[in-house]
Subunit: 245 residues, 6 copies
Amino acid sequence: MRIDRREANQIRSTKITRGFQKNPAGSALIEMGNTKVLCSASVEDRVPHFLKGAGHGWVTAEYSMLPGASNPRVQREILRPNGRSQEIQRLIGRALRSVVNLEALGERTITLDCDVLHADGGTRTASITGAFVALVEACDTFYEKGKIFPVQDFVSAISVGIDQNGDAILDLCYEEDSNAIVDCNVAKTGLGKYVEIQGTGEKRPFTRAELDSMLELADLGIDELISLQKDILGGELVWKVGRIG
Amino acid sequence: MRIDRREANQIRSTKITRGFQKNPAGSALIEMGNTKVLCSASVEDRVPHFLKGAGHGWVTAEYSMLPGASNPRVQREILRPNGRSQEIQRLIGRALRSVVNLEALGERTITLDCDVLHADGGTRTASITGAFVALVEACDTFYEKGKIFPVQDFVSAISVGIDQNGDAILDLCYEEDSNAIVDCNVAKTGLGKYVEIQGTGEKRPFTRAELDSMLELADLGIDELISLQKDILGGELVWKVGRIG
Amino acid sequence: MRIDRREANQIRSTKITRGFQKNPAGSALIEMGNTKVLCSASVEDRVPHFLKGAGHGWVTAEYSMLPGASNPRVQREILRPNGRSQEIQRLIGRALRSVVNLEALGERTITLDCDVLHADGGTRTASITGAFVALVEACDTFYEKGKIFPVQDFVSAISVGIDQNGDAILDLCYEEDSNAIVDCNVAKTGLGKYVEIQGTGEKRPFTRAELDSMLELADLGIDELISLQKDILGGELVWKVGRIG
Amino acid sequence: MRIDRREANQIRSTKITRGFQKNPAGSALIEMGNTKVLCSASVEDRVPHFLKGAGHGWVTAEYSMLPGASNPRVQREILRPNGRSQEIQRLIGRALRSVVNLEALGERTITLDCDVLHADGGTRTASITGAFVALVEACDTFYEKGKIFPVQDFVSAISVGIDQNGDAILDLCYEEDSNAIVDCNVAKTGLGKYVEIQGTGEKRPFTRAELDSMLELADLGIDELISLQKDILGGELVWKVGRIG
Amino acid sequence: MRIDRREANQIRSTKITRGFQKNPAGSALIEMGNTKVLCSASVEDRVPHFLKGAGHGWVTAEYSMLPGASNPRVQREILRPNGRSQEIQRLIGRALRSVVNLEALGERTITLDCDVLHADGGTRTASITGAFVALVEACDTFYEKGKIFPVQDFVSAISVGIDQNGDAILDLCYEEDSNAIVDCNVAKTGLGKYVEIQGTGEKRPFTRAELDSMLELADLGIDELISLQKDILGGELVWKVGRIG
Amino acid sequence: MRIDRREANQIRSTKITRGFQKNPAGSALIEMGNTKVLCSASVEDRVPHFLKGAGHGWVTAEYSMLPGASNPRVQREILRPNGRSQEIQRLIGRALRSVVNLEALGERTITLDCDVLHADGGTRTASITGAFVALVEACDTFYEKGKIFPVQDFVSAISVGIDQNGDAILDLCYEEDSNAIVDCNVAKTGLGKYVEIQGTGEKRPFTRAELDSMLELADLGIDELISLQKDILGGELVWKVGRIG
């Protein structure tokens, strides 16, 4: 039995709220257990310097923790850019771009801001799952019927790990994460393919068998999260994802 | 009649939620109309360099806007410290310190983080009003009965202005603020004294009579906000504010 | 009697020297007692990014203290931008813009540099009063007869406060400022209207009556400073201020 | 046949030179094909702030590219910290720490500097393989006979990928890497366990079968590299790795 | 005849004013022609990190130009440290340290701030000549009779060059400096020895004969400047320079 | 006899290797004794902002030390720009520009990167000598027959000094440099003219006679280095240097 009484293969209670912020083109507040991440998607009609004239768009992400999201308080990153945040925002950007048709985006940049309001483990994977919802909303604001919808598949992410007893567990909370022997983040698409696997032996190296059992649990968790994304987006937006005309 | 159908002397619908974040010692989400600011108070058992050995504590504030809080998106302040934010966080810090007995705080620093989740005017004054609630909660975590309670009075703040017709109005929303002739932020204590008055002629200079009519409206608004702070904190905490033993 | 033997309503001996620097379009060295601020106004034939194509100009200010201006030595702000300086330069910029017709400026930017050579209280208000003189000189370098003169009114600023005895005093020197209960900076135009009021309860909150007595003293001081600005600028430039053709 | 005429399961010609730099405690120049990385290990008799008093040491890494290492020239990271470099140096640090007994290190910090002199793909994995050699040399400078040797196992890393034909390939050069569908970096220990797996679908998501075939190739490559590390270190140092007394 | 009607071997009219700033331990305003540099010397009772426990002190310099000192306006160096300024302040520091007995200074740091109020060529050499006066004043504030006076010799500096006609000239003003073929800065002591020679072929390389003729002129200029320093400091301070008990 | 058994007028064993890096347009690894500097020359088809439209090109230099180049380890300059490096790279840039015809360069920028792999004294002068070779190679990549070759003369540099016995010595190694009384860097052209002389009295001021004896030694060293540059470049490139059609 896990510290919060879940089964090894059980994700935390998860909720996605649309429209928490009214200003951005897309907005989703994702809560997985006590982890809360506010995701917004902003659209600009221009592309970064390195894409000028390329005829297609870009999707980028920024990730940050509010000072009060953790205990002890997290220092703001002003004048002290943070390696961990940069690594996470690069991961979020890659994961979301993997399901986007950048040509269909046109000469637009979508910035996905993932701000952690409360941290209890799994903030980077929750950011991917929540930012996907904001991204679909944002693309819908400029989508013209009959065209290719920029988002071509679903994507969700979850953490898996090996606990101190050597057992694989799904969706680690902060306390489990701190004690885990191995920590692995997995992002998969609606078609069941991997977008990203990042496994790290935190306390000791790990075997191939341990990798296999973690990937199995990740499949379960990601299926649940993609179902939830579909429920939250509703029929019309689900129907648009993957449209090619 | 104002654009949101309020009377000139009417504040927006205001709500303060305690405990939105579980990690910090104090936490309050304040919503005034569409403006939402998440305020947290974190306590550290040490003081800044310039107070080493002085035998008393410090209260400081940090203010920031989430990128999705406004439209167009607000750029993060990494490597580009922002004059407006610095000015606002200095104001918040001064206003809250004005009601704190720093000796009673002991060798502690309380950091008030005010992060704007949604901006629709009056974010700096809402930050003061909300941060006060988080501050009282935080002081309660280390308060020992029979001692002086560090928070000695209530403090709230509100914006007032002169609109395009030359009329004084209370608690300006973003659209009113953008068009206002004069903009004035006022912070007052529970005993009805001024902590801060900052009046600026945005579109033209203003007269003494205009100042007087704005200060009158501010009194009304601040009375309402202090009542709300008392309701939210509840009898026991209200009783502690101002205790000297 | 005050520490420097002035009356409560008496400003310090004040002198403005034009032309201390030969390179900038406008230059004024203002001395109020021991406070010395070197103000220069530089003109560029372009506008900041956010005004491109708007058809009018901009006035901005920068404020800094020389390391030797104070004791102990003031650290230079390289790599450590300073909240206090940013707040002050925003104030100076707003105050001067309030008397400028930005359309009449054309697509020009005027930068007002206020560098404190010696600090003895009231440096931000002295900066406003001195920078005004440099601004008028600078506008005169490109003014064409028969057009609207960009500077449309006079503006001066002064500090007022409540001392330890509870009395209102005018134009605080550093020692008075350090001990003041309340500190208030006021900027007014030649037509007697307020451009900015910033009152702060430094040691305790203050009453409406105290505010009133401070504003009364400020009126006296500002009248004197505007007279001095007129004397220094001389008839021809005074005649141009406010010209609309 | 691959562009450089290698078989799918063949690594590039690899050479490790010890002692290229004379000043650091450990030094290795690793060349894999045209990729050249200069790795040095410096020892300091103190630990980072967060380990003060913990009674054990730390291993950290820094990674950078010389401007002339690539074409076009790489800009230096002065005042512009680079997310990619930070991500890579965090990876190198984790991989090397996984085989170090930090208690046996004592209160020392070893900094592994990996500077890319010439870049042709696989610089981050070559950095891990080369830095290992410098790390062993550095530990030998303070190792006392009969104690636990700080380095307890070997570690090497290699890149694998899926090429445009859908085939798994080992040790990608720059041109292969640019065109790869999937890119995966794997670090394993001498005991055949995973320290890190980072797989990314660069051009499209990937299947479980593709992951399996990449991991198989990685095993081959890492075995070869660990053999090379042993040859280069020589009998006495190989004998020390893993010693527990 | 030179553009300002001087002889080739004639320095500009030079004036040094003591006490322009009242706060620092030493203060000198040096004017050479239109070049004006405000030099201050501040004393701190601690030494930089690298001298902790060494039992002697340090002398360091900072150099900056006020924005209005030049035309066009000079941008402040906030967040953009300037190679030229750093090079100059390192030169000033070295030149002044060359005449200081650091042991006699005790565990103190003297910071020489040289702020250019008006720039017309030769600001770095004027800074050395002026900072010397401030340095002597500052040392006098803590000198105890019978001890070694920290300043052991005089030092002054001047620029020399080769003009467009191939003639050596002394103390170049800005216009001469811009057109000079060769530019050379020389610092010498009261005993006639070189502290620093920095010669640069700006428009073309130069011969040994040209070097010789420039050094000859520098001797004349430095003799005059050291006489002036002595006049300004007055008998008592001149008597202290070089005292060894 | 010197510590490394050289005569006073003898340079260290010197070797220049072309083509160490394959990506840049020019590349030279210079080794003088144990000092090793990797020099690369990169060409861009654009000019810095201040030369836009001027119709000619620019040559600039960047200098840095690898962390492992020295003992103790050198900290990277990220977020901490280093005055010494800036001063050195300005010197390198000036020295190389002195032999370049910027018009013949066309609208191109050549960046000379000098990265110190191993430091044992004389890194700045070795950088000039090595960067010259890379510069010639780089110019050859775009030179069209019959035009003016951008490099018009040879340039080399060397250090000279006065040792503890008061004797002039040539090409100081690190240990000699640390103990030298006077330190002087000299750059000269193939035609025997000075490009730069920087002499500093490190431990005491120096006489004119000492300067003369140092300059004499520098002549010897620079002649040898220019011979070496010619050998390394080979007949065809030597023939191009100085071509005017």
